[in-house]
């Protein structure tokens, strides 16, 4: 009975860290964390664009969130989160609809992660050339 309950429950943080699921485990964890992080930003983003209804004074005052260097690390995390979630999600869609692609899971994940990192680095560079 206890085992049955455990199977229905997603692993706890301790289980996740001690479980040796290989690459797929970290792909899953990063997908979930990036999804929740991007959702958190989306909530903030809908609210800030909504405030544009109240005119430029209100909206521009709020922009320190996006312009201040203090918040830049979060922007960098957001950029990586969106890219990783998008590209790793593409891997999941490919595997779901084309099971033969299972053989390429690992290289696809490595590719998705490397592309996400490289494009994130380019956007960090853009902070300097466009600022």
């Amino acid at each position: 009975m206890k085992q049955r309950a455990a199977l229905r429950t997603a692993p706890s943080l301790r289980d996740t860290l001690s479980y040796r699921g290989g690459v797929g485990q970290w792909a899953w964890l990063l997908h979930r964390l990036s999804g929740l992080g991007v959702l958190l930003f989306l909530v903030l983003h809908v609210l800030d664009i909504f405030l544009a209804s109240f005119g430029p004074e209100v909206f521009n005052k709020l922009l320190f969130l996006y312009h201040s260097w203090i918040f830049r690390p979060f922007i960098v995390l957001l950029v990586f989160g969106v890219l990783y979630h998008a590209l790793n999600g593409l891997r999941l869609v490919i595997v779901d609809f084309w099971p033969a692609a299972n053989v390429y899971q690992k290289p696809m994940w490595v590719g998705a992660t490397i592309v996400s990192l490289v494009v994130t680095l380019i956007t960090i560079a853009a902070f300097f050339w466009e600022g």
Partner: protein, 141 residues
């Protein structure tokens, strides 16, 4: 206790396809909206960061985007982004709640709060997309 190999779990990383009903529908929606967002959201992110530049974004950026010559296009684009991203994100959060919160009261309470937040943000976002007007002092170039 937990599946130790992908084959044992019956899946290869992705959430298994549900048998039917709303959950099957939501499983397909996540994949279709995900593919749509791969184009819409990633283009939006790269456009804002690499073409416009984060530091150049001000109120005028919105005026140009929504009241310029391509205003109608960008409003439709942003509405699609709002609907797909918010629905995809909230459904993902619903899956996370179902994965971790098994007390019936907490599960339903959290999902209700999520539903209220979803409706509220959808209304606020749609409201500003449909009603935004440039103030008389700022004219779109």
């Amino acid at each position: 206790m937990y599946p130790t190999t992908p084959r044992e779990s019956g899946t290869f990383g992705a959430r298994p396809r549900p048998a039917g009903g709303f959950e099957l529908w939501s499983w397909y929606f996540m994949r279709i909206s995900g593919a749509v967002l791969l184009l819409l959201a990633v283009f939006h992110l790269l456009w804002m960061h690499l073409v416009i530049g984060l530091d150049n974004i001000t109120f005028e950026t919105i005026v140009r985007r929504w009241t310029g010559p391509l205003g109608a296009f960008w409003r439709v684009y942003d509405l699609a982004l709002l609907v797909f991203a918010l629905t995809h994100g909230m459904n993902g959060a619903r899956w996370v709640i179902n994965d971790y919160v098994h007390r019936r009261g907490w599960n339903l309470g959290l999902k209700s709060a999520l539903g209220v937040l979803y409706a509220l943000l959808m209304l606020m976002g749609a409201y500003v997309i449909f009603t935004f007007q440039a103030p008389p002092t700022i004219v779109a170039p």
